[in-house]
Amino acid sequence: MSSARELLVCARMQANTSPRRAETVETVERARRVLLAEDDMVMRRMLVQALERDGFEVTAVEDGAKLLARIQEAWLDPDDARQFDLLITDAHMPKLSGIDVLRELRTVDPSTPVLVISAFSDHEMVDTVEDLDGVVLDKPFDLSDLRTAALYYARCP
């Protein structure tokens, strides 16, 4: 998978030019659902507000164990099975890290888009996330970058 920055540029171009994208937006009947995990309360609220402004239905949790538990709940809920369109997770959190959860998720789910946000990404971490078909977004990031990435990945898994 390409870097988040490259894809953000690509997403912006497509958002402006693709008729298929406009058609997709019109035919979507339900709000796109994002599952967000971020241990910093202020950051979590800020991200939820930004995503909700873009029309996402956001479920937010504060650590990796709750993130994995919520993913499993979605799989096992008869009305709700696997219906998250996008996962956004902090890389470093108490209990399970975002990368631990991504690794576990990929044992059965190769396709749900996962965006990993991190203030301490190094090459090894980026390689690990990309090997698991995730995308790293470095902190600090512009909120508009996150929103663009969310729109891109939630609609084009």
């Binding site: 994995l68 096992l76 576990e104 059965v108």
Partner: protein, 90 residues
Amino acid sequence: VRELQNCIERAVALCSYETISVEDLPDRVRNARALDTASDEMSDLPRMEEVERRYIERVITLVGGNKSSAARILGYDRTTLYRKLERYGL
């Protein structure tokens, strides 16, 4: 033991000061505790494979055992579904 010996020898060779610090250790060793912690936390939750097994089982029951319908609902092709059914003993 040999792995530990190699690790310490490498740290001695590469460290900048007289004392070996955490930064001188290879990533695999530095991350070992985090991995243990992850395993502990993970043990409180079912593994995703178990969750998938339960999910497939429920869908198969809902469609009365019809594999084509189940595959469509699950989003798998039939080959993948049969592979998973075999893997999970369903």
